[in-house]
């Protein structure tokens, strides 16, 4: 994977052009999309035109910032003017977006080249990207396995070199989960920071837009572009010596695949060896996370889909339809209980961060599950895939804290797994400074990933 930082440097040095790199992305899409099912729409003509414009601007001395000429894919749940926003659902047949979502307008202003729209779990309501009107997204590391979800096509597009970055959405982990199982970085900013206008909602109170990239520095560049601040350079890493990290071991490390646990513990050892203090803390109401999350997301989703569940129920995939129908039976008093639990959980995470720079925990308890699996073996038994995949990410959608997943190296079977860092609310930039410092220790790679590769 070429990083955006490397692309940007080489573009300005005249070593590469946006057209060349965009053509390479389109070549990889052409070669692998039929096999991996990553894109719902390839915007080849527009991408070529934008890349040529970007190159002309560079030649004439116009510089739009770090994303100038960068090929980026967009989850097909975000509006791009003039093309369908399918949400990977037949329910959306015939829809064409009338205007760009604000995040798309910001990317265009930053000079990004949009290569296409990526496949997802229907209406972002799932963790595997299997239930889709376009069929399942395949993991580039093992096409028999899920690319995660719901932004599975986004994760796969970056991992397969079809784009230098992708824009996903995250309501329970849908940026961090595909990042974790595809081996990319995935950033969920603080709740409310990045506009969700022009995004098909799953839960308006927990939806986030965020980038999937090859490095933390790239995630910072794309995050700032999404905010409309395209010229910001990556922040300076926080000094490792004296960095205060906290592991919420109880609950969050109770149920882990042995190899994921080993990769996580190895990352902690490297962080300690580099000078970080690693304490253990407890989120007292951790056992209540899943019920709180479930009652909120089900209610929010059911309200949005109530009309189409009545008028075109057969257009939903069966599993997503059932989950949406479940939400129509949540009682108001239980929704209110979940809102109370949400406040308690947010304050417990705030308290855990009061004496620490970040929480550190695995992104997922497992590696990518086989496509079609309903349950997965983890710990001493079998657990539902959906519950396991959401287990470590959904808390921070409930509470709104920013969180970033960083690759923690492959398991013995060559499958990626991730480590998550979580920061204080409204301090996403501080979290990115911590993540920049921790990235080499978490990945176990001393040179910047992508820094020596081309194409």
């Amino acid at each position: 994977m070429m990083t955006i930082e490397e692309f940007s440097r080489r573009l300005r040095a005249g070593e590469i052009t946006s057209t060349q790199v965009t053509e390479e992305c389109l070549r990889r899409i052409d070669a692998d999309n039929a096999r991996l099912n990553v894109f719902t729409l390839v915007m080849a003509d527009e991408a070529r035109r934008r890349a040529r414009e970007a190159d002309k601007e560079v030649a004439s001395g116009t510089d739009r910032g770090p994303l100038h000429g960068v090929p980026i894919s967009i989850k097909d749940i975000i509006d791009i003017r003039g093309v369908p926003t399918t949400a990977s659902s037949r329910v959306r047949e015939g829809h064409v977006a009338e205007r760009d979502a604000p995040v798309i307008a910001h990317l265009r202003q930053a000079g990004a080249v949009l290569v296409g729209k990526t496949n997802l779990h229907e209406f972002a309501f799932g963790t595997t990207s299997e239930d889709s009107a376009f069929g399942a997204v395949k993991n580039p590391h093992d096409p028999g396995r899920s690319a995660g979800g719901s932004s599975g096509g986004s994760g796969a597009s970056v991992a397969a070199g079809m784009a230098l970055a992708s824009i996903g959405t995250d309501t329970g982990g849908s940026v961090r989960i595909p990042a974790g199982v595809c081996g990319t970085v995935g950033l969920k900013p603080t709740l409310g920071e990045v506009s969700i206008d022009g995004v098909v909602p799953l839960s308006r109170t927990m939806d986030h837009v965020g980038p999937l990239t090859a490095s933390v520095a790239d995630a910072s560049l794309v995050y700032h572009a999404l905010l409309g601040d395209a010229r910001t350079a990556p922040p300076v890493p926080m000094p490792m010596h004296g960095l205060r990290l906290a592991v919420p071991r109880k609950y969050f490390c109770d149920l882990l695949d042995d190899e994921v646990r080993a990769r996580f513990d190895a990352a902690l050892d490297r962080l300690r060896a580099a000078g970080a203090h690693v304490d253990e803390i407890e989120i007292r109401h951790a056992a209540d996370i899943a019920p709180v999350y479930l009652h909120i997301v089900l209610s929010d989703a059911a309200a949005y889909h109530a009309h189409t569940l009545e008028t075109m129920p057969d257009r939903y995939t069966p599993a997503v339809r059932l989950r949406l129908e479940m939400g129509r039976y949540v009682m108001a008093e239980d929704y209110v209980r979940a809102l109370a639990g949400r406040e308690v959980l947010a304050r417990e995470v705030d308290a855990a961060l009061a004496q620490h720079d970040a929480l550190v925990l695995p992104t997922l308890p497992i590696v990518a599950p086989p496509i079609g699996a309903a349950t997965v073996e983890v710990g001493r038994g079998r657990e539902p895939v959906r519950n396991v995949m959401l287990r470590l990410t959904q808390l921070f959608n409930v509470t709104g804290h920013p969180a970033v997943s960083i690759p923690a190296g492959p398991t013995s079977s060559g499958l990626p797994c991730g480590v998550q860092l979580v920061g204080c609310r409204h301090q996403t930039d501080v979290l990115l400074k911590v993540a920049l410092a921790c990235e080499p220790q978490i990945t176990g790679v001393s040179v910047p990933r992508g820094g020596t590769s081309g194409g």
Binding site: R284, H285, A287, D288, A290, P291, V292, L294, H295, L298, P318, L322, R323, E325, M326, Y329, V330, M331, D334, R337, A338, A340, G341, E343, V344, R347, E348, A351
Partner: protein, 58 residues
């Protein structure tokens, strides 16, 4: 409404609507609702101390 009463009514409604596949899903939701109602952050009208959720911060 108790969870048992709710679950019976919900399953009956799902069957009436021609959605028998909802039964196991609703049973899963009932377990989650049971856990939610058992959480110690819930308040009741007979609580000796009335306070906001914020006031009972951990």
């Amino acid at each position: 409404m108790t969870i048992d009463a709710w679950l019976q009514a919900a399953i009956a409604d799902a069957e009436r609507r021609g959605l028998p596949d909802l039964k196991p899903v609703l049973e899963t939701l009932a377990k989650a609702t049971t856990a939610l109602r058992a959480a110690d952050f819930n308040q009741s009208a007979v609580d000796s101390r009335q306070s906001s959720v914020e006031g009972r911060r951990p």
